[in-house]
Structures are given as structure tokens and as C-alpha cells.
């Protein structure tokens, strides 16, 4: 016997309904109503299309409603549901009203319009005429429900800033050291008569190449990491939602940033080396 609380997604109410699996078809249930369940419930309860279940408003209530599972549906990639582990079923409105004793009531209506002016006009008319109701445009609801994600997004940006500072410092350090290692080469070039400008350009070219190679490697690593992150969190939260997305903008931003930092650090170190007398660079 299995009891599972189901929060209904039939645009009705957050009241849970409990489902109890039954193993034989009662004779009176020749014509049973059908419901759709989500993949998560099907997997956890071992339910399949065609199975009969009893739905009731409270766990263990004897007078439940026998229904047949007619479909197993996949949830949308909705961020607002990501951390919620509840099960969902979809059923006929009237049936749900009967099961939970809700009467002829609904929680809300979703209204489709042709958009634009028609939506605004419908909003105005409903709010003016339907006493006790309030109509909201979808975008307003979207803003309200996405507050959590706005916070997460701000947090990610802050973490990103700290990471950029850390990696920039690291990159500057490495580039300075790398250029510093070329003291003797630079000294030799200067003694051979190669101009300071050429020395600086050579070192800068070299550091640009290193920064570019590093960036490309980083982009590859980013793609692999994001694939791993998506695979992991999609499994943890059982959702098709993509948690990490690499956009052309992200790639351009990171490559440009590392190039600027790499070339900047290279230029800084190269100028310092080029100004130092060659014999000093040789350690004499």
C-alpha cells in the first residue's frame, strides 16, 4: 500500500491529495476517469500508464476516487520548482473539486488574449467589473515569482567578481614571473643591438600568445565543467533545467578579460626589463 501526497497542478489549489495504489480493478470501475502523473511520481511509486489508483483528500480515507493513469508527463524546466520535491498529478477540475470538497471554486484563471492592447483592455475590464477579483498581467507575476532567482543571480555575480579578482591576481603574478624569467634573453637581445621597442613587442606578443592559449583552454574547461554541473544538478533535483549555460557573451567576456590582463602584465614586465641595463639583467 502506498500513500503519496500530491500537490495539484490543475490550476486549482495547493491542497495535497493522497494516492493509494490498488492491484485489482473493481467491477464497478468499468468507466473510470483518467489522470496524468509526473515522471518523478511514476518512477518513485513504480506506476505505469493503465494502473489504477485511489485518490483521496486525506491519507487512508476509505472513500477515495478510483482513477486510471492515462499519461505520464515530464515537468517543464521551471526554476521556481527546482528545490521542491513534491509529486504532481493533472486531473479534471470537477473531479478535484469533489475530492477535496472545494465546491464550485477555483484559485485562479489563466486568460489567453491576442496580446498587447487586448491584454491591457481585458485587465482593465476584469478589474473594473469583477468585484472581489484582481487580474494581474503575466509579466507582473513573473517578476514576483522570480525574486528568488534575482537574488541567486546577484549572488553569482558577486562570487564571479571575487573569482575574477583572484584569477586576475594569479594571472598577473604568473605573467610577471614568466617575463622575469627571460631576463638573460632580454639582456642578450639588447646587447645584440635590438631596440627596446622590439624587445617590448616581442615579450608582449609572447604573453598574448600564452594568454590566448590559456583562455582557449579555459573555455574548453568551462564547457566540460558546465556539462558536469548540469548533469549533476539535473540528477539531484530531477529536472530538465539547465543550471550552467555558456553563452557567446560569456566566452567573449572571459577571453577578452584574460587577454587584457595577460597582455597588460606582459607589457608591464617587458617595459621594466627593457629599461634595466643589459649587464644588470645578466647579474653583472
Amino acid at each position: 500500500m502506498l500513500f503519496v501526497p500530491l500537490v495539484l497542478a490543475a490550476a486549482l489549489t495547493p491542497n495535497p491529495v493522497w494516492a493509494q495504489r490498488i492491484d485489482s480493478i473493481p467491477s464497478w470501475a468499468a468507466v473510470v476517469r483518467t489522470i496524468a502523473i509526473d515522471e518523478r511520481l511514476a518512477a518513485d511509486a513504480g506506476l505505469r500508464v493503465g494502473d489504477l489508483v485511489v485518490l483521496s483528500g486525506e491519507p487512508g480515507r476509505a472513500s477515495g476516487d478510483t482513477v486510471r493513469i492515462s499519461a505520464i508527463v515530464r515537468r517543464r524546466a521551471d526554476p521556481s520548482e527546482v528545490a521542491r520535491s513534491e509529486y504532481r498529478i493533472r486531473m479534471h477540475l470537477g473531479q478535484l473539486q469533489e475530492i477535496i470538497g472545494y465546491g464550485d471554486r477555483v484559485d485562479r484563471y489563466a486568460i489567453a488574449t491576442t496580446g498587447g492592447v487586448a491584454a491591457d483592455s481585458a485587465l482593465r475590464q476584469i478589474n473594473a467589473k469583477a468585484f472581489g477579483f484582481h487580474a494581474y498581467p503575466s509579466r507582473e507575476i513573473a517578476v514576483e515569482t522570480s525574486k528568488t532567482f534575482a537574488v541567486v543571480s546577484r549572488f553569482h555575480r558577486a562570487i564571479g567578481m571575487i573569482t575574477i579578482v583572484a584569477s586576475a591576481t594569479f594571472l598577473l603574478c604568473i605573467m610577471l614571473l614568466k617575463v622575469d624569467e627571460r631576463r638573460r634573453d632580454v639582456a642578450a637581445m639588447r646587447l645584440m643591438g635590438i631596440s627596446r621597442a622590439t624587445v617590448v613587442r616581442t615579450v608582449m606578443l609572447e604573453s598574448s600568445f600564452v594568454a590566448l592559449l590559456g583562455s582557449l583552454f579555459g573555455v574548453g574547461l568551462g564547457f566540460v565543467t558546465s556539462a558536469l554541473v548540469n548533469a549533476h544538478y539535473q540528477a539531484v533535483y530531477r529536472t530538465p533545467l539547465r543550471f550552467a549555460i555558456i553563452t557567446p557573451g560569456t566566452v567573449t567576456y572571459s577571453v577578452l578579460l584574460s587577454l587584457v590582463l595577460g597582455i597588460g602584465a606582459g607589457a608591464l614586465a617587458a617595459r621594466r626589463l627593457a629599461r634595466t641595463p643589459p649587464l644588470t639583467l645578466f647579474g653583472r
Binding site: P16, A83, I159, C173
Partner: protein
């Protein structure tokens, strides 16, 4: 002597040392923040749930407290049955509902809790009296929204019938006090009334029903055993111990914990690589010096110690700076995450716990020591005469 030589060596390339210390400091700050994030949520949430000694939450079967609008029926009998369980010292019933405060141009909507004021753990009275039969205590946000004060009378209702165009469950109540609600944010409009009042406001649907029970157990009783006993006694409920609730919250927020682990590990690796690179380059530049020191009789261990001290110096200075930087950034990051809608005031995502913080920084310093050992040993083990010849000839 070793310390002096190490300090001189670091001072020789002041800009490089400064950059390395800055790099280690940022890594240390990030590591500290991630440790605070990983442990802070758990501690903060456990501490919130453990307030007032309530160790078990009982909600309708298969649901978490206030996760749905489901309620437990025959609440009086259920409370009596829970009280009879060995080790249970108090049972606090709670019924949640939405109320509308009427009277102004627009009704003000608030969250109402029906409680037993004698055993409740949902609010802390700041001023006035606990609610009596026709009274409520309100949060500051609700008082601000309604413009009411202690002693004022409010016209409240729980619903609206659009067909009859009347409010349902209407009643006039007196504001008897102002309170801080433990599990709600400061911006939430909330009120607490007597349980019987909220049940009466809800009509037949809410008669003898509650949303949850909070159960207090004796200090010497295992809450887990009491939790199992509650579920055995009442098959239509789910009992959740504080540890279970913390685990559930951790599951829901596992993203942050794992992010903290990954970024913490990356910070540690970056710090290690930075110190390794700096020390290795510094040693490579001083191969000749080291060979001379060895030639004039300075022992191998002395050379190793001196180089390792340089690594420790970089890591320690960076860690100390990182501690200060980390506390500032943690405060900033915490203020961002505290923007989550409806987050209780008592929840902090970043919590400074000296033990965890100093362990993390000690790990960073240890990695700094490890970073210096290999290049130091390699430099001290080079053949003296060959190195001197190569360095002299160039």
C-alpha cells in the same frame, strides 16, 4: 638568521611578493567565505529550529510544515495522543491562515497563526499582551501597513465570496501586542491569534484542525525515538525532527553547499599553485647564491628551512589579510542572500565559526609549507661545484 634571510629574500622582489600575498589573500578570503557558507546555513537553521526547545514538527502526512495548505484533522485528540508519548513535555498546535484587514482603501493581507499562547514558539512578544479570545499580536510590518497600534481594533476576515460580494469569517479584534515572528522575515505582515479564533474564522473547514504541531521533548530523551513514536501513534502525520528538517533544508539548498565546496577547493589549489610558483621561481633565481651558501658550509637543512620559511611567510601574511578580507566579503555576500523573499531574520548563510575558519586557514598555510618543500629540497641538493661553475660561466 634563517628568518632574516627569508625576509630579505622576499623583500628583494617587493612587488612580486606583494602580488603573491594579494593572490593568497584573495584565495584565503574565498576559502574562508566558502567554509562559512558551507557550515553557516546548517548551524543557523538548526539554531532557529531548536529555539524554545521544540525538537519535533508534526505535519500532515507526506508534507513539510507549511509547504502546502493541508491540515491535520481531529487536532485535539491528536495533541492528546502526542502528549501521552514518553518524553514529550509540551505540544504547541499551530494553524496557518491568510487574513485580510479591512477598513482602509484596500484590504491589507497578512499571514495569521493560530496558537496556544501558553506553549507557542512562533513569536517573541516585544510589547503588550499575548492574544486573548478577540485579540491578536501583530508584526511591525502589519502595524505599519494598517497604521494601527496596540489597543486599536481591526476588522479582519479570512476570505471573500465573490458571488455574495461579502467577506467571510469576519471578526473585530483588538491589537494586544506587537511581536517578532521567529520563522518569518521582518517584512512579513503577520499576526498571531488564539488557535480557537483562527479555527472559528475559517468556519467548518477549519474546525478542530491544525497545520502542524511543534513538540518539545525532555532533554534526556532522544528526539528521533520520540519522532518515530509520534508517527506510530498517528499514521496520518509526518513527524520531522530538527535533524531531519536540517537535512531536508540541506537537500534543498545543496547547491550552495556544493558550490562552497568546489570554490573552496579551487581557492586552496590557487593558493597552493601561487606559493609554489613564487617560491620555485625565487629559488631558481638564487641557485648561485644557494650553491655559495652550501660551499661555505651552510647545511642543507638550513637552506631548506630558509626557503620553507619564505613559503610560510607568504601564506601566513596572505591568510591573515584573507581573514579580514573574507569577513568583509562574507558580510557583503550574506546581505545579498538575505534578500531571499520570506527568509526568517534569524537565518544567516555565512556564519563565522572560529574552529572551522581557522582550520581552513591552517590548511592554506599547510599547503604553503608543502609548496615550499620540493623546490627547497631540489635547490639544496644540487651539486655545489657544478652549480657554481654553471652560474659563474653563465
Amino acid at each position: 638568521m634563517r628568518f632574516q634571510l627569508a625576509a630579505l629574500s622576499l623583500r628583494r622582489h617587493a612587488s612580486r611578493t606583494l602580488l603573491a600575498v594579494l593572490g593568497v589573500a584573495v584565495s584565503a578570503a574565498m576559502l574562508l567565505d566558502m567554509v562559512m557558507l558551507a557550515t553557516g546555513m546548517r548551524q543557523s537553521f538548526a539554531s532557529l529550529l531548536g529555539r524554545n526547545g521544540f525538537t519535533i514538527r508534526v505535519s500532515p502526512r507526506g508534507t513539510l510544515p507549511f509547504d502546502t495548505e493541508a491540515t491535520i484533522g481531529q487536532a485535539r485528540d491528536a495533541a492528546a495522543a502526542i502528549k501521552r508519548i514518553t518524553g514529550v513535555t509540551a505540544v504547541a498546535p499551530v494553524l496557518g491562515s491568510t487574513i485580510h484587514v479591512l477598513g482602509g482603501a484596500n484590504p491589507v493581507t497578512a499571514f495569521a497563526l493560530g496558537v496556544d499562547p501558553a506553549v507557542q514558539g512562533d513569536y517573541q512578544l516585544l510589547q503588550g499582551q499575548h492574544p486573548t479570545a478577540n485579540a491578536l499580536v501583530a508584526s511591525d510590518a502589519l502595524l505599519r501597513a494598517t497604521g494601527a497600534g496596540i489597543g486599536d481594533t481591526l476588522d479582519v476576515a479570512v476570505g471573500f465570496d465573490p458571488q455574495l460580494r461579502t467577506y467571510t469569517g469576519r471578526r473585530r479584534v483588538v491589537v494586544s501586542g506587537r511581536a517578532r515572528f521567529t520563522y518569518l522575515s521582518a517584512d512579513d505582515r503577520a499576526a498571531a491569534l488564539q488557535l480557537a479564533s483562527v479555527q472559528a474564522l475559517g468556519g467548518a473547514d477549519r474546525t478542530d484542525r491544525v497545520s502542524l504541531f511543534m513538540v518539545r521533548t525532555a532533554p534526556n530523551v532522544d528526539p528521533e525515538a520520540a519522532r518515530v513514536a509520534v508517527e506510530r501513534t498517528l499514521p496520518r502525520v509526518t513527524a520531522l525532527s530538527t535533524a531531519g528538517a536540517v537535512a531536508e533544508a540541506e537537500h534543498r539548498l545543496s547547491y550552495f553547499r556544493q558550490l562552497a565546496f568546489i570554490l573552496g577547493a579551487v581557492s586552496l589549489i590557487v593558493g597552493f599553485l601561487l606559493v609554489t610558483t613564487i617560491v620555485t621561481v625565487s629559488v631558481n633565481e638564487r641557485i648561485g647564491e644557494i650553491a655559495i651558501m652550501r660551499a661555505i658550509g651552510v647545511s642543507r637543512s638550513h637552506v631548506v628551512h630558509q626557503i620553507v620559511i619564505e613559503g610560510i611567510g607568504l601564506s601566513l601574511t596572505g591568510a591573515a589579510a584573507g581573514l579580514i578580507l573574507g569577513l568583509f566579503t562574507a558580510k557583503w555576500l550574506n546581505s545579498i542572500l538575505r534578500g531571499f523573499p520570506g527568509l526568517p531574520d534569524a537565518i544567516d548563510f555565512f556564519l563565522f565559526q572560529p574552529n572551522s575558519a581557522f582550520r581552513a586557514l591552517a590548511l592554506l598555510v599547510a599547503s604553503g609549507i608543502a609548496a615550499g618543500i620540493y623546490p627547497a629540497w631540489r635547490a639544496a641538493s644540487l651539486p655545489i661545484s657544478a652549480t657554481l661553475r654553471e652560474e659563474a660561466v653563465g
